[in-house]
């Protein structure tokens, strides 16, 4: 659905995992951008009704891009820059307190 702009296509890449899948992203990507570029339109299931949701506003307002990043739940993917070796997990339902 989403494609990189052509003038950015050759930039250096970082590697991260989404659940068990390994993907590459540009170092300036947010986690939400990386997810969308890798074809993950949905990155979580809602806390009460378990409905799939994905990145929407991309500016920290809608809280629909919540993911677990390196073990910490409910991170806003659009506000976190990707990092080499990062582990991103689809968040299914409520986060666990203390994680």
């Amino acid at each position: 659905m989403f494609h990189r702009l052509p003038d950015l296509a050759d930039a250096a890449l970082v590697t991260l995992t989404i659940d068990s899948e390994v993907i590459t992203a540009r170092p300036s990507d947010t986690v939400a951008a990386a997810l969308l570029a890798a074809g993950h339109a949905a990155c979580r299931e809602t806390a009460v009704s378990s409905t799939p949701r994905g990145p929407y506003c991309l500016m920290g307002v809608c809280f629909d891009c919540l993911v677990t990043i390196d073990g910490v739940g409910n991170r806003q993917g659009c506000l976190v820059r990707v990092r080499e070796g990062m582990h991103v997990e689809t968040q299914r339902g409520k986060r666990v307190a203390g994680r």
């Binding site: 806390a47 409910n74 307190a97």
Partner: protein
């Protein structure tokens, strides 16, 4: 003959519960409500259905609270059958936790007196025993008090369920009807809201802190004042808190509510960082894992407080047919208001059991 048998003034939890009960008794009811300008405790409360600290000094109130707590499960069931809305009532028993021996002793003393006065069941637990029921307590928690009668509910959903049921029961809900004036003419109350009027032979004042002014219009002294409480709520988390604590509870949807402040701030429902910070700090000392959760909202609301903290239920002597019902526990007492109080008001009025709740108790000479 007027269109309505009753005009209930105030569409929060107290008014809605009473209107629901009146309609259930076959009465034709108009429910007058303010709009979004209302200081609505019904939307800002902590949603406990709480027994363990209520009524020391007034056994009738302790009994009334317990009666409501006992009626709550059936009330919730009725609302679910009538509206399809589950108000998430649970009664697993509840705790108050102590962060020092001194706090624990004071709690025990208060509960012992309440037990002696009103046979309140409770148990003081040490850390080891507490940990079996609340495994996530922090190292500073020295003990706590458990009362098996305590519980909680989803209070915004309770308000919605009541209003859904009111509509089904044919109650005329009139929003944006703040009341300016009430006249009593030939046995009929004429309630003025701007240029509009609603007439009924009987009225019930359930407008929270607004009852003070409304009461004056029908010969009822209603000495209530706002008392601010502040609340902090976290994002939704997987269930870990299986019992409500008087200052911390996890809602049915997972958010953790914290709040235990009391402030005399007049009609000011703004929050203050100092109080909110203290609430959060105490909560994290009780349950350290709360420190990992994000806070998503804070708010303040105004309790409806009498001098002794007990409710007022009374019929006007000078204006028979005008009742007032006011309390600071609209959630806990919702079942009693709907199932016990409303049928009395619908029939012959308050029984002698309610004499203790009259505002006359505030008029006893201080020298007496």
């Amino acid at each position: 003959m007027t269109e309505h048998d009753f005009a209930v003034i105030g569409g929060g939890l107290v008014g809605s519960a009473i209107a629901w009960g009146l309609a259930g008794a076959g009465k034709r009811v108009a429910l007058l409500d303010e709009g979004d300008v209302a200081f609505r405790a019904s939307r800002g409360n902590f949603a406990l259905v709480w027994v363990q600290s209520k009524g020391l000094g007034m056994p009738e109130y302790a009994r009334w609270t317990r009666a409501s707590s006992d009626a709550w499960a059936g009330f919730a069931q009725e609302l679910r059958e009538e509206t399809g809305i589950d108000v998430a009532h649970q009664r697993p028993g509840g705790f108050s936790l102590a962060l020092s021996e001194d706090e624990l002793v004071r709690r025990d003393t208060m509960l012992k007196r309440l037990h002696n006065q009103s046979d309140l069941p409770y148990e003081i637990m040490d850390r080891t025993r507490l940990q079996k029921m609340l495994p996530d307590i922090g190292p500073e928690v020295v003990g706590g008090a458990y009362c098996p009668l305590d519980g909680h509910a989803n209070s915004p959903r309770l308000l919605r369920a009541l209003h859904t049921a009111l509509k089904q029961r044919g109650v005329a809900y009139l929003p944006e009807h703040g009341v300016d004036r009430i006249e009593h003419r030939g046995g009929v109350f004429v309630v003025h809201s701007g240029t509009r009027t609603v007439e009924a032979p009987r009225i019930v004042l359930t407008a929270g802190n607004g009852n003070r002014k409304l009461g004056e219009m029908v010969g009822l002294d209603v000495p209530v004042r706002p008392q601010r409480g502040q609340i902090v709520i976290t994002e939704k988390a997987a269930p870990f808190l299986n019992y409500p604590v008087v200052t911390i509870r996890q809602t049915d949807e997972g958010g953790v509510m914290m709040g235990d402040s009391l402030e005399e701030a007049g009609f000011d429902d703004r929050i203050g960082l100092g109080v909110v910070g203290t609430i959060a700090e105490r909560a994290v000392r009780m349950f350290p894992l709360l420190g990992s959760l994000n806070v998503v909202r804070t708010w303040a609301a105004l309790r409806v407080m009498t001098q002794d903290g007990f409710p007022i239920y009374e019929e006007s002597r000078s204006h028979p047919g005008a009742f007032v019902a006011t309390c600071h526990s609209g959630v806990t007492l919702a079942a009693a208001h709907a199932k016990l109080l409303a049928p009395l008001i619908a029939a012959d009025g308050l029984t002698d059991d309610f004499t203790a709740f009259s505002a006359k108790r505030f008029h006893v000479s201080s020298a007496a």
